[in-house]
């Protein structure tokens, strides 16, 4: 099908974009990579009266790391993350995760910030933001808000983002020395949204796990950290038995969705399997 008519705006600055969103009201939408929005518009699942295209706002097109923080501008596209951007554990991990997102042509347009705005429960970048305690910078007509990922994600396609705000930047604190990270996801076909995925980070000190971050995507209505699994890992040697125990906890703690793609029991099993694989991957990576 073809999209319904809309008015098109292509502002050159963030301030103009926010002003337009305020003026145009709830029926206006931001257009970033378009890889979710245009597909929804083609099916008329979305019928915005106006689009504010942010692709011409040069100041939003950046990725840099300063003072231990990875800063990602709203126009940083998925493909940009396929090559190492930072030193340390995320250097290899982010490219590995990025290659699981959709397909090459979709990665050359879709944006990190757009994924966070869209908030699909099975989005890899939403899982990365949640697991690594990112801060999401929302720019509105009056002020800028910085929302921790733990508060930002509120449900399926539902976040703290207001209709007159733009996700202008994402800030990810870079894990220091001693951290290892791994990722695993299961999808039926290459490039499909995952049925379940896990991002696992562990800090090893003197042969034992000193800290752990276990994030699960696709298992519930939003990306989640599994605190009980993280606690269970601390103090353990990083071996298969400890990983299996943590994976069992993750599978138990999650409250999975049933849908056309997978029922809840199957998703629960996958969460366990992905947690085990992500932890094993962390030791290799």
């Amino acid at each position: 099908m073809k999209p319904a008519p809309f008015a098109y705006h292509a502002p050159r600055s963030l301030a103009d974009a926010v002003r337009l969103l305020t003026e145009l009201g709830d029926d206006a939408k931001v257009l970033a990579g378009g890889q979710s929005l245009v597909a929804a518009m083609n099916f008329r699942l979305a019928r915005p009266a106006a689009l504010v295209d942010i692709n011409r706002i040069a100041s939003l097109d950046f990725v840099n790391s300063e003072g231990g923080t990875l800063r990602i501008g709203a126009l940083a596209r998925h493909a940009r993350f396929e090559r190492p951007l930072v030193e340390g554990v995320l250097g290899g991990l982010l490219p590995y995760v990025a290659r699981h997102i959709a397909h090459l042509p979709i990665r050359s347009r879709g944006t990190f910030a757009g994924s966070l705005a869209h908030a699909d429960p099975a989005s890899e970048w939403c899982l990365v933001a949640r697991t690594l305690d990112a801060e999401i910078v929302l720019t509105g007509p009056k002020a800028e808000r910085r929302v921790p990922a733990a508060d930002y994600f509120q449900g399926v396609f539902t976040t703290a983002l207001r209709s007159d705000e733009i996700v202008s930047e994402i800030r990810i604190p870079l894990p220091g020395a001693g951290w290892h990270g791994g990722f695993a996801e299961f999808s039926r076909r290459a490039g499909d949204f995952a049925l379940a995925m896990c991002l696992a980070l562990i800090r090893i000190e003197g042969g034992r796990i000193a800290e752990a971050k276990i994030g699960i995507g696709g298992g519930a209505d939003r990306p989640l950290r599994i605190a009980a699994a993280e606690r269970a890992l601390v103090g353990q040697a990083p071996d298969a038995a400890a990983f299996a125990a943590a994976a069992d906890i993750a599978a138990r703690e999650i409250d999975p969705m049933s849908d056309i793609h997978a029922d809840a029991d199957y998703r629960r099993d996958l969460v366990g399997a992905m947690t085990r694989r992500a932890l094993a991957h962390a030791l290799r990576a």
Binding site: M1, K2, P3, A4, P5, F6, A7, Y8, A10, L31, G34, Q35, V38, A39, M41, N42, F43, L51, D53, N55, A79, R99, A102, H103, L104, P105, I106, S108, R109, R189, A190, G191
Partner: protein
Amino acid sequence: MTDKIAVTLRVNARDYRIEVEPRRTLADAIRTDCGLTGTHLGCEHGVCGACTVIVDGHAVRSCLMFAVQAEGSHIRTVEGLADGERLSPVQQAFHDHHALQCGFCTPGFLMLATAILEDNPRIGADDLRHALASNLCRCTGYHNIVIAVQAAAEKMR
């Protein structure tokens, strides 16, 4: 209806001055307004890749972009691959290795493969298969497509 906007699309090094509503996708503009019907439309939601074209050096889904967004960009479509009667290395390899049957997916695969190999003709076999998995073909079973693109890669190195 919203008003039409004047847009200049630069396709295969030629300027097309067209007037389109903002809702006109790049795919429809290329086909209907520029008359270049080599670019195909299958699913119109980013899954099949039949509509793949190259915009500023990157393979993209032209069904997921609006024509107004492409003003100022360099667009390449399947019509721009051959040099007169001489097929491009990727086209020639598809011919030589029987990498098409009905041909519906072929323009998309040719543009995808061209973008991949222009970026890196030394791409590894696994990475190449992974990248080619971006597009769907209902006929060939992919086997000969992979072989053709590998053969083209050797020529383009």
